[in-house]
């Protein structure tokens, strides 16, 4: 915050002034001068505190707006909202405040508000983030909120997720084979659980896919989320049939599968669940190489 109160300097200044004045003025005038200096100092302090309070009271938000159904709003633009700041306020809180108090047409997705449903992933201050998890106090103001990049915008902050879901389903994200769990408890070793633990955390928010330039340029690329989902099943020991493993690897090692990853690490950096996506992709690359290596 730029509005710092110079306490020591103010005091030093006032006493220095008093000493200078003492040589030429009467005690009454000295007291008056000291009072005036003290008053000026108090006023400056009060003004600085007011500035700090005012700065903390309202968060400036620049929000991407686009509405294809309303004439005059079809050209994308940024609307500015000033939202009263409260301690612990998230970007989602601020968006909801703006919608409820200023513009009911402001559209965005949200549901659980506790980083579980993954529906409120947006592009906040130049990075894909979950709005319900991102604290306003951690961001640089004004906060710029945009829909996820590399996905078509349906309205305001809502993007079309269909392609993302298609890619997720293309890796067959469910147990298969004769040993597939069928309502019965199926045990897994602790080691195996640890191995796939992080990959099971995916909440399908699409932040990783949005951050990946390769996915943006190649519409057929499975993308980090889908590959991570495939990793989760490929590495799970409960699906232990060799044919199934090969089937999964075949999906992954296709032209637009794991080999399209060019290790930008963007997905890993933006993942709100800290899943080491790039690491999983590299591991699957190695699995693909191992399965194809033949020494004869």
């Amino acid at each position: 915050m730029s509005t710092q109160v110079p306490e020591q300097e103010g005091e030093a200044e006032s006493s220095a002034d008093a000493e200078t004045d003492a040589s030429v003025e009467s005690p009454q005038e000295q007291r008056m001068a000291k009072k005036a200096t003290d008053r000026a100092y108090r006023d400056a302090q009060k003004k600085a505190q007011e500035e700090i309070a005012a700065a903390e009271e309202a968060v400036r938000m620049k929000v991407f707006r686009y509405d294809p159904e309303v004439e005059g709003k079809q050209e994308p633009r940024f609307d500015e909202f000033h939202v009263p700041f409260e301690k612990g306020m998230t970007v989602l809180d601020a968006l909801m405040y703006a919608r409820d108090h200023y513009d009911p047409s402001l559209t965005f997705r949200h549901s659980c508000r506790q980083a579980v449903c993954g529906s409120d992933a947006m592009f906040v201050n130049g990075q894909q983030r979950l709005c319900c998890k991102t604290q306003m106090s951690d961001l640089e103001w004004p906060v710029r909120v945009e829909p996820l990049p590399h996905q078509d915008v349906v309205k305001d902050l809502v993007v079309d997720m269909q392609h993302f879901y298609d890619q997720m389903h293309s890796v067959e994200p469910y147990f298969q084979g004769e040993n597939a769990p069928d309502g019965e408890e199926q045990k897994q070793t602790r080691e195996n659980r640890e191995k796939i633990k992080m990959s099971t955390r995916c909440i399908w928010c699409g932040a990783c896919m949005s951050s990946c330039n390769i996915a943006a340029g190649d519409n057929e690329y499975l993308g980090p989320a889908a590959i991570n989902k495939a990793y989760r099943f490929y590495m799970d020991e409960r699906e232990d049939e060799a044919e199934l493993e090969e089937h999964r690897l075949r999906i992954l090692e296709q032209e637009h599968g794991v080999w399209r990853c060019q290790t930008q690490f963007s997905c890993t950096e933006v993942c709100p669940k800290d899943i080491p996506l790039t690491e999983h992709i590299q591991e699957l690359k190695r699995e693909a190489v191992k399965s194809n290596l033949k020494f004869w």
Binding site: Y66, P68, P149, A216, T263, Q264, F265, E279, E283
Partner: protein
């Protein structure tokens, strides 16, 4: 859906300030790779003068080496090659699952090492320019 808005890839370039280390590494690797491919053609063009005769080849090389800009370009070529090699090694290690957690630091290390090697090479590349030894 009635209509949707595609912001296009052009917006990506406007966000260059927001790129992280991994992204810069990717961009530099591509860029240096293309420069090296381009250089190969120049290299072949220069070498092909040898087909005319040893004297032509020597004259061409001496002529090129006497130009200050060519010396500077050679330093740039060294920087390009060194970074590409170092970052390539980094990517190889990443592919093998080594140093995934410190991928950003290894990128910075590649940059620093490239800078150091290039600076150290400057006296060699500029030696003898302007008729000296």
């Amino acid at each position: 859906m009635s209509q949707s808005y595609n912001r296009g890839l052009i917006e990506d370039f406007g966000r260059w300030k927001e790129f992280q280390a991994g992204m810069w590494a990717w961009i530099f690797h591509k860029f240096t790779g293309w420069i090296l491919v381009g250089y190969l053609f120049t290299h072949i063009a220069v070498l092909s003068t040898a087909t005319t005769g040893a004297e032509t080849y020597t004259q061409t090389l001496q002529g090129l080496e006497s130009i200050f800009v060519v010396r500077i370009l050679e330093i740039g070529l060294l920087a390009t090659a060194v970074f590409h090699i170092l970052n390539g090694t980094r990517l190889l290690l990443v592919d093998l699952g080594i140093g995934l957690g410190s991928q950003d630091r290894s990128f910075y290390a590649s940059l620093v090492l490239t800078g150091a090697i290039v600076v150290a090479s400057v006296p060699t590349f500029l030696a003898g320019l302007g008729g000296g030894a």
